[in-house]
Assembly symmetry: C2
Homo-oligomer: 765 residues x 2
C-alpha cells in the first residue's frame, strides 16, 4: 500500500464473480461503503444495498427511479448573470425494500442483535443480492435467508424473498411497506420532495402513488406508483394499512420451531415518465397481477444477465483482483444503463446515491459510449446520441445565457437545461461541447452508420461550431485565435487561457464540421441557409481552425496544458506528503489551483482521443511529463493513463492505473464510496482493458488490435461487437487467438498488419 | 448625457449645502434612492431617510448600530476547504424613528394622501433632516413640519420634532414606537436576528432592549437598548404599551383649528459594545433624563458640525454641482466615521443599507485613511491602524486557513476573521494585504509618528512579509519569483498570474519591512527571534523582492496588468453598446472575465500609490493605455483616474472622473444607490480634489502642492491638517494663496520648489 493511500481497503472478499462479505462492517463509513457496493439496478430504477428489515446504525436508504427528479432551489453563493435558477436532483423515491420484522414482538435489527454468522453476497453473474445470517432475538435463534432482484426481464418488477427459521415456536409479525415518506440526503435544508397522490388497498394488494412537490420552474411533476403483494408460505392473518405516502401490509404468522417462514414480496413500480398519470393505478395493479411468480421471474432475470455477460464479459485468468474489478464495473454500468430508453442517460452515481445531482455529464460521451458501442446493439449507442440531439434546443438556450451563438451542452442536467451554478464550471468547463462532436464521429466511425450524420449529426455539429466560432477571439498580439477563460478536464485549474485540450477539440470540431458539410454537399448558400449559415461563416471557421493557438514547448517537446503552466512550481507527486492526499480534501482551493498538480491530465486526454495524430515518441514525452504531476483525484483519470501506458509498453503502469480505475470503489481509493459509486468511470475500466491491454482502436472504420497483457495474467478474453460481427479475443502471453464468432469475413488489423478474419486467426507471439 | 448612462439622473436639486427635494419621487427605485441619500449618522449609529410616519409604498426601513452584527449562515454554493463558516452582517436594529399618526382616526400616509406641497431638505452644514408638507386627510388640511438629528455632540441621543397644524378642530393620535421587531433585507431566508430582552415603562419613559439571537459560531450576542420620552406641547392623554421587542407610547390630543401640535421624541440608544448589559437600562434611562432639551441639543449638534466643516470643508466657487458632490461625500463619510472609536471602522454602506455585509474592506486603508490624515487629529488615523493591529491574531488565523504563513487581513470582516466565501475573492484577492503595509507607511510619512513603527507597525509588517514569502513561488522557467492565482483590485479578472499591482505591492512590502527592521536595529538573531524570524528569512525576503516578476511590455512601454492581458481582444470602452452597460448587470461572468474591460485599473492604482517611482511619461503611457479599457464599475475607480489625469494636465478628464466619484450616488451612476450609499468611495472624491486638483503629496515627510483647477471653477479652497499646522489653500485660475493658519513656520513645496511658509504665501500663475 502506498503511503498516500491509507484509507484504501476492501471490505468485500476477492472473488471473480461475487462480492462476498462475511461479517457486518459496523463502522459508519464501512457500512455505507457496503451499502453502495451492493446496489442493484435494472436501467429503470435501482436501490442501494440496504437491509430490508432496517438497521438502527448509520444507514443511507436509497431508492431511485431513472429520469425522475426535482428542481430544487439552487445552492448558490454569489449570483452571476446567466446562472440557471434551479439545481436538478435525482431524488430518493418510493422505497419498496422496507420490511419490519418482529419475533415475539421484538424488532429484528442487526445493529442490536449482532449476528453469530453473516454472509452477504452480490452475485454479479445473475444480478441478485442475498444475505444469510443467524442471530439470537430474545432467546430465539433465527436463521434468515434473503434474496432480491430488480428484474431486467420485466424492468418494472422487483422481487424480494425473505425466509426466517426460528429454533422455537414463535409469533412473527412482518410489516411490508411501500414508503413514499422519504428524505433526501442532498436536500438543502431537509426539505421533502414528495406529496401523496393516492394510497389504497384491496384484499390482496396495496397501492401507493406519490408526486413530486410543485415547483416554480415549470418543470413537470413526476408521479411514481407502486403496487405490492405479499405472500407467506404459512397460514397467517393479514391486515392492510394505508396512509398518505405510505402503504403497509401487516402479516401475523405463528411459526413452529425449525419451520421455514418465507415471505415473497412482489412490487410493481411505475412512473409517469412511461405511463399516463390517470391510468397508472390500473396498469400497476394489472402488472402485479400478471407478473411471473418468484422462481419463474428469477429464472428469466438470470437468463437475461447471462446473455449480457455472453456479449460483454471480460475474463482475466490468473488475477482475481483484476477480474473482480472489471466484472464489478460492467455489472454496475449495465445495471444503470443498457440503452433501452433514449430519454435516459447515465448519471454519475447511477442508482447508488444522490450526490452531485443531474443525470448527464460529459462522462457519457467520453467514457460510456465506447463501451456500449462494443458490447451492445448499435441502437444503444445511437440512443445516447439522440438524447443530446433531442436537447439541442435547450443547449442553444444555454449558449444564449452566456451571450454566445450556437449550442452549449450542459455540464449537469436532466432535461438539457444547465442546472449547475459555479461560474468556473458552468461557464468555463466548455470543453464538454467538444466531446459531443467527437461522440458523433466515434459512433459513425465505429458503426459505419453514415446516415446518422445526415439525419441528426450535422445539425448538432453546426451548432457546436457556431458556439466555438463565437467563443474564440483573435489575439492581435499573437496573430492567432485563442480561447481564454476556461476550465479543462483538469478541474484543478480554473479560468485558464488556451487550455490545450479545449483548443484542440474545438479546432477539431470546426474541421470535422467543415468536412461533414462537404461530404453532405451542404455548400451553396441555399443549402447553408437552412442551417442559418452563409459561406462567409464557413470561411471564418476555416480561418479559425487553421490559426488556432495550441501551446507547445520547444524546449521540452511537449504540448503545454495552458499558457502559463510551465511557470509553476514544478513539484512532483512523489514529493507530496501523505497528509496532503487527497489534496482536494486537504488544501485550500487557491493552493490547488496554483499548484502544478493535475486532477486528470488535459493533454493526455486529448492525445488519447486523437492518437493517430501523434507519434509514439510525442506520446511518450507528454505521458512522462504529465504523469509526474497527476494525482488522479478524478475518477476519469486513471483509465486514460492505463491505456496510454499500455500503448507505450509501460505495462506495470498500465496495470497500476487499471486497478485504480476498476477498483476505485471496491477499494475506496478516493475515500468517497460511501456517497455512492462512480458509475460513469466504471466504463473507464472497460476502456483500460479493451483499448489498453487489447489495444483496440477503430481507424478509418477498420478494427485494429495491438494486444499486450501483464505477465501475471494467464489470459485475457473478451468479445467485441463490431458492426455485424461478434469477435472473440483470447490473449495469453504466448498467443493471440481471434475468433469471428458471428458475421461475414472481415478485414481487421493486428499489430498494424492486415488480417482477413474468416473463422479463427491465431498469432504466436 | 452619455449614451451609456441612461439611468443617471438626480432626484435632488443642485444646491451647495443642501439636498432639496420638492416632490415625492414615487417610483420605487427613486423613492429608495431618496431614502439612501437622506441617511443620517453620527459615527455610533445611523438611519436611512425613512418617513417617520411610515409609507405604504415601497420603502426600506433601516436603522443601524456601529459594530453590532450577526454571524448569519453563509450563503455558499460549493464548499471549498478553508472557507469561513459564517457571513457577518450589519443588521437592521432597534428602530427609533417610527411614529404612527392618526387624524380623526385616519392614518397619515403620504402614499395614500398625496401631498399638495412637499419639501425635503438634508442640511449638510448642520446635519439635520427636515420635511415640510401639506396634505388633505379626510377633509382636514394639515401642514406638517418635521426635523430630526442624531446628535454628534451626545452620540447616544436622537431627537425628532414633529409638528402638525390642522385647519379644523380634530383629534390627533400619535403612536411613538421603539421597534425591535425588524426585518433584514439581506437575510438568507427572511430569518429574524433579534430576541427580546426587556420591555418596560414608567409614567414618563419607555424602555426596550433587544439581543441578537444565539449563534453557533462563538460570536458575542449584542444588546441594543433604547429609552424614549415623548412630549407634546398641548394637553393630552398618554398611554404606554410594551410587548416583547416593541414599546409604544400613545398620545391622544385634541387640537384646535390652526393650532400647532408639536411632538418632541427624544431617544437614548445604547449598546452592549459600550455598556455592561446588566446596567444598560439604568444608564439609558439616566441618559434620557439628563439629556438636553431639543433646542439646546440642536444648537450643540449644529456647532459641532460647523466645527467639522471649519477643518474639513472644501469650497468650490462657480460650479454648484461639483460643490454639492464633495460636501455630500464629506458629510456622509464623517457621519459614518469620525474616529472616536478604534473598535469601529468604515463599512462599505455605512449606516445607509445592509448590502455586502462586513464592516471593513481594504477601502478603509486605501481611500479613507488619507482623508482622516488631513482633516482630523492624528489619533483618528492611528485608530484606524490600531483596528487592524488589534486583529493581527485573527489575520494569522486567516492565513493558516489557506495553509500560509504570516497574516492575511480579511476581505470582509467584523472581528478580523474572514467572513466572505468566494474562492476568487476570499482566497485570491490578497492584494488587500499590501495596502495594510502601505497604510503604516502612509501614516508615519504623513504624521512623522516614527514611534508607531516600533510599538505596532513592525509587528504587522513582519507578518505581512511572512505571508508574501510563503505565497510566492520560484519559477525555474523564468528564473523569477511569481505570484500565481490572484484577483487584483480589478475584480473583472479572477485567478490571474502575476498581477502587476499585487506583485508590485508585495515586493514593496518586503522592501519596506527590511528597511524598517534595519531602522529599528532588529537585525541580530536574538532580536529577530522575538518575531519568530532568522537572518535566513531576511535573506530570502531580499532575494524575493529583488527577483519579483513584474510584467512589462517592451513594445508598448507599459506595465502589463497580468501575464496574458495583452493576448486579449483589445476592444475599447467606446466600442461598447449602450445595452451592454454596466457590463456587470448585462454580461455573463465568463464574458466579463475574458474581456479586456477593467472595473478599476490595477496598474494605475499601483502607479498612484508609488507615484514618485515613475516618470510622467511612464504615467502618461499607462494612463492612456488603460483608460480606454476601463468601465469604472467599481466605486473606487474614478477618483484614481481623476488624480492621475490632473497630474498629467488632462483637466477635462480630471473633472469628468471627479464628478463621477463625487456624484456616484447623487446621480445614481451605477444604478445601485437604492441599496445604500457607497460610503468608502466618498473618500475618493476628497482625494480627487486635494491630491488631484490640489496636487497634494507628502514626499519624504514634506508637504507638496501642484495645484491646477478647471477653468469653470472660480476658486477652490480647502484646509489641510499637516502635523502641527493647519494650512489653508485658496486656488483661482490666477493665483494660489497658501495660509499657515495654525502652527510654526513650515517648509513645504509648491510645484516642486521650496517655500518657507511663515504666514501667507501667494503665487501668481
Amino acid at each position: 500500500m502506498n503511503k498516500n493511500e491509507q484509507h484504501i481497503k476492501n471490505i468485500f472478499e476477492i472473488d471473480e464473480w461475487k462480492l462476498i462479505e462475511t461479517k457486518i462492517h459496523e463502522t459508519e463509513n464501512d457500512f455505507l461503503i457496503g451499502e453502495s457496493l451492493t446496489s442493484l439496478g435494472n436501467g429503470l430504477m435501482g436501490s442501494r444495498g440496504n437491509f430490508e428489515e432496517g438497521y438502527s446504525g448509520k444507514t443511507h436508504k436509497g431508492v431511485y427511479n431513472g429520469g425522475v427528479w426535482f428542481p430544487d432551489k439552487t445552492k448558490v453563493g454569489w449570483w452571476k448573470n446567466g446562472y440557471p435558477e434551479y439545481f436538478g436532483k435525482a431524488i430518493n423515491s418510493l422505497n419498496f425494500l422496507e420490511l419490519e420484522i418482529k419475533i415475539d414482538n421484538v424488532k429484528l435489527d442487526l445493529f442490536i442483535q449482532k449476528p453469530t454468522s453473516f454472509l452477504r453476497e452480490l452475485d454479479m453473474k445473475n444480478g441478485i443480492l442475498s444475505r444469510k445470517f443467524t442471530t439470537l432475538i430474545s432467546d430465539i435463534k433465527i436463521d434468515v435467508y434473503t434474496e432480491r432482484f430488480l428484474s431486467i426481464h420485466n424492468p418494472e418488477m422487483v422481487y424480494i424473498k425473505y425466509s426466517i427459521k426460528p429454533d422455537k415456536d414463535c409469533n412473527i409479525e412482518i410489516k411490508s411497506i411501500l414508503n413514499g415518506d422519504v428524505h433526501n440526503l442532498d436536500s438543502n435544508h431537509g426539505e421533502m420532495f414528495w406529496d401523496s397522490v393516492s394510497s389504497t388497498k384491496d384484499e390482496t394488494n396495496t397501492f401507493v402513488a406519490i408526486k413530486t412537490k410543485p415547483n416554480n420552474f415549470g418543470v413537470e411533476r413526476f408521479v411514481v406508483a407502486g403496487a405490492m403483494n405479499n405472500e407467506v408460505n404459512i397460514k397467517h392473518e393479514k391486515k392492510i394499512e394505508v396512509k398518505p405516502l405510505v402503504g403497509t401490509e401487516i402479516l401475523k404468522i405463528f411459526v413452529k420451531a425449525n419451520e421455514n417462514c418465507t415471505l415473497i414480496k412482489k412490487i410493481a413500480i411505475l412512473s409517469s415518465r412511461n405511463h399516463e398519470k390517470s391510468k397508472i393505478k390500473k396498469i400497476a395493479l394489472d402488472k402485479l397481477e400478471k407478473s411471473d411468480d418468484y422462481e419463474k421471474a428469477k429464472e428469466l432475470h438470470f437468463a437475461k444477465w447471462n446473455k449480457r455477460w455472453e456479449n460483454g464479459d471480460i475474463s482475466i485468468e490468473g488475477d482475481a483482483k483484476s477480474q473482480q474489478g472489471i466484472r464489478f464495473s460492467l455489472f454496475q454500468l449495465f445495471s444503470t444503463y443498457y440503452g433501452e430508453d433514449s430519454k435516459l442517460n447515465i448519471g454519475p452515481k447511477g442508482f447508488t446515491g444522490e450526490k452531485y445531482g443531474g443525470a448527464t455529464y460529459w462522462d457519457t460521451e467520453a467514457y460510456c459510449l465506447p463501451v456500449y458501442l462494443s458490447t451492445a446493439p448499435s441502437y444503444v449507442a445511437k440512443n445516447l446520441l439522440l438524447y443530446r440531439y433531442d436537447q439541442l434546443k435547450q443547449a442553444k438556450h444555454n449558449a444564449r445565457q452566456q451571450g454566445l451563438d450556437g449550442a452549449l451542452f450542459p455540464m449537469v442536467t436532466f432535461n438539457g437545461v444547465e442546472c449547475h451554478n459555479e461560474w468556473e464550471i458552468t461557464f468555463e468547463e466548455i470543453h464538454r461541447n467538444g466531446i459531443m462532436a467527437y461522440a458523433i464521429y466515434n459512433y459513425i466511425n465505429y458503426t459505419g452508420d453514415e446516415e446518422y450524420l445526415k439525419t441528426n449529426g450535422i445539425e448538432v455539429l453546426i451548432e457546436l461550431s457556431k458556439f466555438w466560432a463565437s467563443r474564440v477571439h483573435y489575439s492581435k498580439a499573437k496573430k492567432m485565435y485563442m480561447i481564454h477563460g476556461v476550465t479543462g478536464p483538469n478541474e484543478f485549474e480554473n479560468n485558464v487561457n488556451n487550455n490545450w485540450y479545449t483548443n484542440t477539440i474545438s479546432k477539431w470540431t470546426l474541421e470535422y464540421t467543415l468536412k461533414s458539410l462537404k461530404k453532405l454537399k451542404i455548400t451553396d448558400e441555399i443549402q447553408l441557409k437552412k442551417y442559418e449559415l452563409t459561406k462567409k461563416d464557413l470561411i471564418k471557421w476555416e480561418e479559425i481552425q487553421k490559426n488556432m493557438y495550441l501551446p507547445y514547448s520547444e524546449e521540452k517537446k511537449i504540448f503545454v496544458q495552458h499558457d502559463t503552466f510551465l511557470d509553476k512550481d514544478m513539484m512532483r507527486v512523489d514529493q507530496l506528503k501523505a497528509r496532503d492526499r487527497p489534496i482536494v480534501n486537504n488544501w485550500s482551493w487557491d493552493k490547488i489551483l496554483r499548484s502544478v498538480f493535475i486532477k486528470q491530465a488535459d493533454v493526455l486526454q486529448g492525445m488519447y482521443l486523437f492518437q493517430e495524430n501523434y507519434t509514439k515518441d510525442e506520446l511518450k514525452k507528454n505521458y512522462e511529463f504529465y504523469e509526474q504531476f497527476t494525482v488522479h483525484e478524478s475518477s476519469l483519470s486513471s483509465c486514460i493513463h492505463s491505456i496510454l501506458a499500455a500503448k507505450l509498453g509501460k505495462i506495470d503502469d498500465a496495470v497500476k492505473f487499471y486497478l485504480r480505475a476498476a477498483r476505485l470503489d471496491l477499494d475506496n481509493y478516493n475515500d468517497d464510496t460511501k456517497d455512492g459509486l462512480h458509475i460513469t468511470s466504471m466504463a473507464g475500466s472497460w476502456m483500460s482493458i479493451i483499448e489498453g491491454f487489447g489495444g483496440m482502436r477503430v481507424i478509418d472504420g477498420i478494427l485494429n488490435f495491438s494486444p499486450t497483457i501483464p505477465k501475471i495474467w494467464k489470459s485475457l478474453s473478451f468479445n467485441i461487437l463490431f458492426r455485424k460481427n461478434l469477435i472473440k479475443m483470447q490473449i495469453t502471453n504466448k498467443e493471440i487467438k481471434i475468433t469471428n464468432t458471428k458475421g461475414e469475413n472481415i478485414k481487421i488489423k493486428l499489430f498494424n498488419e492486415d488480417v482477413l478474419l474468416e473463422k479463427t486467426f491465431t498469432k504466436i507471439i
